[in-house]
Amino acid sequence: MVHWTDEERDIIKTFWGKIDAEEAGHQALTRVLVVYPWTQRYFSTFGNLSKPSAIAGNPKVRAHGKRVVVALGDAIKNLDNVKATYAKLSELHSEKLHVDPENFRLLGEALIIVLAGQFGAAFTPAVQATWQKLLAVVTAALSSKYH
């Protein structure tokens, strides 16, 4: 089981309270599709992803980004049991979506960049460390049902 300090729990809850899931999710997914263009292979039904402006303006990207970050909220509500919380989601990503788990890490990195951009100096080294830990736990939980 993951051990969270009181400080880490506090940081996660405080910042989560200030995050707009739709906006953060949209920006994070946009960055994944632009910075790591091979990930576009998972979104062939999303229409025009031919260049950064198309991706940023794509409503399906926005909707899907929102969905992903809203799901992050479930992990945050269940910090002591992320693995069990994400068991079904892990199976879905493995058996139906066939997403290479490396991409969970990439989305995590993109989200960190979005948070840094949004919060500036308030995204201190300690806050960065806490969010990287959270996203590592989420990535591990999402990967746990892969076989």
Partner: protein, 147 residues
Amino acid sequence: MVHWTDQERHAITTLWAKVNVEEVGAQALVRLLVVYPWTQRYFASFGNISNAAAIAGNAKVHAHGKTVLKSVGDAIAHMDDLSHAFTKLSKFHSETLHVDPDNFKHFGDCLSIVLAATFGTAYTPDVHAAWQKMIAVIISALSKQYH
């Protein structure tokens, strides 16, 4: 040889012109030492780096951050021939400093985060993508002489 588009060169050099080398270098190195604490092993001679506050206030950390970022500037000036330009620096990191090359990626991630925090919305997905590529090329050049 790395192929750079005009857009990538522009994104990299335009942002670089606005970077405060001392400030950004210090922040990136502080983040490395806080978020990836095992990296502190390379800086035993730096005095007090026992916690996040000590690291953030440490004059040697600040000075070294500036040194590293100056080298990033050199890399940008030699972006068309970086493997060659960084031969000595790569050998130095391998044979004298014995730095595990994984840490180059961790530093690169911290640098990208500091750029996002500093420049906010100006660190757009395409600018982020261009810098991610620059960082990858630097990491490759720095790793090249390892054996």
